[in-house]
């Protein structure tokens, strides 16, 4: 719901704060593999339900060169790939280095948007990568990354409210900064 009211910032090349992917990334580093895949499916499905565009329409003899869209469901795969990236640093997260996860969340968003843009180019042909597209990807990733500590904090609050313990070795005092 929050994502619905975060429009593009026109002064920053149309960059967004991507709350749903960020929540997914922050969750995927703190859950097991199977749960991460389930989350990837749900988030990707909802993302595409919101953003998928319909066909061109009109008479094919006039619009002979229709612009293709990405298939419904492609985000599920991209979310799973981002989730796998986050799972790779789960041992660090469990040692209390949540800040590494925050940085990786930004990197994962960058690769997600970059892959999405490359896929658009692939299905539509006529490859183009204007600098504004790069700035939009970069600024969206950076802006989203800034919100990741807040999401991690909310996840920990939620876990504590539900009496759930995230395997968080960082709470142990010994050898925390020596790893």
């Amino acid at each position: 719901m929050v994502q619905q009211f975060l429009p593009a910032i026109s002064g920053l090349y149309g960059a967004h704060v991507l709350i749903l992917p960020l929540v997914f990334l922050c969750c995927s580093v703190s859950v097991n593999f199977a749960t991460m895949l389930l989350l990837a499916f749900i988030c990707g499905f909802l993302w595409d339900a919101q953003h998928a565009l319909g066909p061109q329409g009109g008479y094919p003899e006039i619009y002979a060169d229709p612009v293709e869209s990405l298939r419904f469901g492609y985000s599920i795969i991209l979310y799973a790939m981002m989730g796998l990236l986050m799972q790779g640093i789960q041992p660090l997260f469990r040692k209390g280095k949540w800040h590494t996860s925050s940085i990786l969340a930004g990197i994962a968003i960058f690769f997600y948007l970059f892959s999405e843009y490359l896929l658009i180019n692939l299905v539509r042909g006529d490859f183009s990568f204007p600098p504004t597209a790069f700035y939009r990807i970069y600024l969206t990733s950076a802006l989203t990354m800034l919100f990741s500590p807040l999401i991690f904090w909310l996840i920990f609050q939620l876990a504590s409210a539900c009496h759930h313990t995230i395997r968080y070795d960082g709470l142990k005092k010994e050898a925390r900064y020596l790893d």
């Binding site: 009211f5 967004h16 998928a52 061109q56 006039i62 939009r136």
Partner: protein
């Protein structure tokens, strides 16, 4: 790999393949259900957003007047505040009158709609309006403003609809250049930023006599848009090996759009 992870992976692959092989109709049905579920939040949120922006404007306004408050009497400030409020109302009145005139003058049946959400996705240029299938808004219907063409309806749900803007690469419009026999296809450009980026007018003759400032209108061919709706003005023209291509400045200021009009098909019993 643990057995449960392997099972989870297999289930995920089955789910992803199921989603990727949905037909256009099922995707539309999924989207309709999704938007019907979130439309009360969208409308409510839009109301809160409007109130918040009004509050911020009021706050900015108050700060501006604070310095003058020290110099002027309280009564004078009150009067000025009243004048400012009246001016705001006057502007809103002018905007609504313009919209009403457009609605009355339009040679076809149009339905006024308010933009409740702007550009929610990274790569697609879309807005959400507060009218849907309950108000006869259907898929592919043209969306207009007094200045010109805005776009077309992409996904209508019960009470809201997604409109794909003219500045999106996927919104193609059959267009003609005024005063010339040239016709082509207008569309947005991929990956460009800004509120009103230039449009591409493709498939023109390579030796077309097109100059900057010429007006571009819809042709009415293609079955999507009515004829003679202004799209924009020519900025530049470049001749290619096969076709000529022009850059067009959109007639509509997409950043300032608040109210749009959906062209509704005439009902069979209407005169």
């Amino acid at each position: 790999m643990k057995p449960q992870n392997l099972i989870a992976l297999l289930l995920f692959i089955v789910g992803a393949v199921w989603a990727l092989t949905r037909s256009e109709q099922s995707v539309r049905s999924i989207q309709k259900t999704y938007y019907s579920a979130i439309s009360p939040f969208l409308k409510g949120g839009s109301g809160i957003e409007t109130k918040a922006s009004e509050f911020i404007k009021e706050a900015e306004h108050s700060q501006e007047w604070e310095a003058k408050y020290k110099l002027a009497k309280e009564e004078l400030d009150k009067k000025r505040m009243e004048v400012a409020h009246l001016r705001k109302l006057e502007l809103e009145n002018a905007r609504l009158s313009q919209a009403l005139k457009f609605q009355q003058k339009a040679p076809f049946r149009v339905l006024a709609a308010k933009i409740i959400r702007r550009q929610p996705s990274t790569w697609w240029r879309t807005v959400t309006i507060d009218r849907g299938e309950k108000q006869d808004v259907g898929v592919q219907l043209p969306v207009l403003s007094p200045e010109g063409l805005v776009g077309k309806v992409d996904a209508p749900s019960e009470n809201t609809s997604t409109v794909i803007l003219l500045t999106d690469e996927k919104c193609q419009v059959s267009a003609k250049v005024d005063g010339t026999p040239e016709v082509g296809i207008v569309s947005g450009q991929r990956g460009l930023a800004g509120d009103s980026p230039s449009l591409r007018l493709r498939f023109l003759s390579k030796d077309a006599k097109i100059k900057a400032g010429m007006l571009v209108f819809t042709t009415g061919r293609g079955g999507l848009f009515p004829p003679d709706i202004l799209l924009g003005t020519i900025k530049t023209f470049e001749s290619g090996p096969l076709y000529g291509e022009a850059l067009v400045k959109p007639a509509v200021d997409f950043a300032a759009l608040h109210t749009v009009f959906v062209k509704i098909p005439k009902s069979p019993d209407s005169p």
